[in-house]
């Protein structure tokens, strides 16, 4: 149950787009671009609706520095995401992995949509085959009727 709710909150948070990013902190623009790219994939756990690229929370600054150090060391982006996931769980990832606990999150909306469309089609088809006497005759809107005079 709890996992489902965390999964659902992922879905909600995914819509929160980022506007302004925190200022870069080293002179190498190529490295900074990579730091920003990785950091914008990671959720800041202090202010959960922000990525660590956007956030000014102290932990986010530390984690950005960690990302920068790891990139300097030559670690891949994959390794950095794994490093963060090992410590903070899948919740740090803005794009959660597809696995058994996140199936509902990934495919739930599609299943709901398909179910809704199927129900609608079924109802419409059944109605189109009904005889006309199953429906009430058209009636004038009471509001449009002239008021009765006493």
């Amino acid at each position: 149950m709890r996992k489902i709710f965390i999964a659902l909150s992922f879905a909600a948070l995914a819509f929160v787009a980022s506007a302004k990013e925190a200022a870069p902190e080293s002179a190498d623009p190529a490295l900074e671009a990579r730091v920003q790219a990785v950091a914008s994939e990671l959720r800041c756990l202090v202010c959960q609706n922000q990525t660590i690229a956007d956030s000014h929370a102290e932990l986010a600054v530390d984690l950005r520095n960690q990302v920068r150090d790891m990139l300097r060391r030559g670690d891949s982006e994959r390794q950095i995401v794994d490093y963060m996931t090992a410590r903070y769980g899948d919740f740090v990832r803005y794009r959660p992995p597809v696995k058994s606990t996140t199936m509902l999150l990934w495919f739930g909306p599609g299943v709901l949509l398909a179910g809704g469309v199927a129900t609608l089609l079924l109802v419409l088809r059944r109605r189109s085959r009904m005889a006309p006497e199953n429906f009430d005759p058209d009636e004038a809107d009471p509001a449009e009727r002239p008021p009765s005079t006493p």
Partner: protein, 176 residues
Amino acid sequence: MKKWQFLAPLGLFVVLLGFLTVGLNLNPREVPSPLIGKPAPAFALPRLDEPGQTIRREDLLGKVWMLNVWASWCVACREEHPILVEYSRKRAVPIYGLNYKDTRPAAMDWLARFGNPYDASLSDTAGMVGIDFGVYGVPETFIIDKQGVIRMKHIGPVTPEVLRDRIEPLLKQLNA
């Protein structure tokens, strides 16, 4: 069958109500830690009171212990502190502090003022050990078993209820 169809919206409402009841009672700040059941990360940090002395993860193997992440700048820690001081008198479990992103003078002053429940505090000035432990909201409390495996994590201030309902039963089980 057809007679009861009007109850369908009520049924849907009850299901929705169930989801809301559970969902609104969950604390979104409590993110389940992936570290539960895993060996505690390695660390080697200077003692707060004696910076010349280093405490390592290996030094604490063989006993069940509590790791409490705290800082003098942390407001919720002050709320939790008297409860830990009181609990430490029972000597139920060795309590180690992880003094997270703090300065030594401020931390020493804080302990002198509010009491020291810790067998020892470790200075994590840079916050790197905090990151290894997945710390994101101070105070946090971990229970680590004799093999050095993290068995429990509590986020936010420890309350008497948490001690009674979660920590004490776990300690009993781990020390058995």
